[in-house]
Symmetry: C2
Subunit: 212 residues, 2 copies
Amino acid sequence: MTPVIPEVVINRLPLYARALATLAAAGDTVVSSQTLGEQLDVTPAQIRKDLSYFGRFGKQGRGYNVGDLRDQLRAILGLDRTWSVCVVGIGRLGQAILEYDGFTQQGFNTIAAFDEAPEVAGSTIQGIKVQSMSNLENYLAGETVDIAVVAVPAEQAQAVVDRLVKSGVQAILNYAPISAHVPEGVSIRQIDPVVMMQGMTYYLKDLNPDNK
Amino acid sequence: MTPVIPEVVINRLPLYARALATLAAAGDTVVSSQTLGEQLDVTPAQIRKDLSYFGRFGKQGRGYNVGDLRDQLRAILGLDRTWSVCVVGIGRLGQAILEYDGFTQQGFNTIAAFDEAPEVAGSTIQGIKVQSMSNLENYLAGETVDIAVVAVPAEQAQAVVDRLVKSGVQAILNYAPISAHVPEGVSIRQIDPVVMMQGMTYYLKDLNPDNK
DNA sequence: CCGTGTGAAATTCTTCACAGCT
DNA sequence: AGCTGTGAAGAATTTCACACGG
């Protein structure tokens, strides 16, 4: 029915939704694609085109109602409900993720955590009891987890992803530095700060060819 | 001289370099674009085209020498030297970043840290003394910092970015949930796990329209 | 015969530009 | 007069497909 919306478009919608939430918090009630675009470094035409995939939300001559558009986007993205999350791999990084409150604030509720190490499994972090990895399939058979966050070492990441997918998880946020494979129909996104830095050094190199 | 290489291409090179390093560690000496592509979920044609921007690294009928190509890519990206990094904002997230060793392992040396809070400034984390924010400009005037990592709250992020840019920093890795503006010639990359999750819920929503 | 390097084709994505509503 | 929504144009990116070297 929906005429296949490009993924690049979907990935911009959360940015629009966030900017609109900020505007709403500041008391703005109306915004043009021009103004929104300036805040986000996106052309106004891009915003209008992106939105046009989903409907007609603006008023000609006026712009968009901030609160309405924010709500529409949240509904389109499925952000008008909560999603359950589990974190796999409770090392330093996994602990930091569990302690991070930004997910919760946006409706992502962490309901479970898993780690292989016996000295970690059994501990409680942020009110969440860390379970043994061997309990993963058993747990996922009984509880719906919408999104899994993978924070295990690179060598184990693909195996963990496979287990998650086999247990029915359809969205994965991967912090491990590998390109994990998932079957068609499963979403995966990569958090890779090192790769991002490495993409910037290319440009630094030219400007700054001295050694250290 | 170099005929302006698309940024999408630059951003894939670190992935190639990493995959090649993994292959080298496994003892492989030769690899085809086909095989490399399978590991990275990239088409072989894409890999060959990307590499062709920089030269001719393969041997027809054979493929690429793993070690050579890895080294070539590292040189192209400027990864054959170390880069100095500072972290601004030493809250939970900033602390986790300071404690993370993945940057160091890849030649990114954190040499300074800054925080506003008087109770944090003065403490030492991972051997790095946290300085007061008011010392930022003074410090950057005396030391070369290649890349700044921003981990301050959203409201302060743009102001911090402006100060960094004004002090000559040309690459920024931004963990704050805003679209920060930088002038032409300054690189910035965004780490935004919430936005990435929000981009996935769109696809979950259709598969899974039940309420929690 | 295998696999690279690469022009050309195909596709995807972005921007333009303007008709039309307010 | 201002700003959206959108076909059409344009630009960027990816894929094709094959000549050529090992």
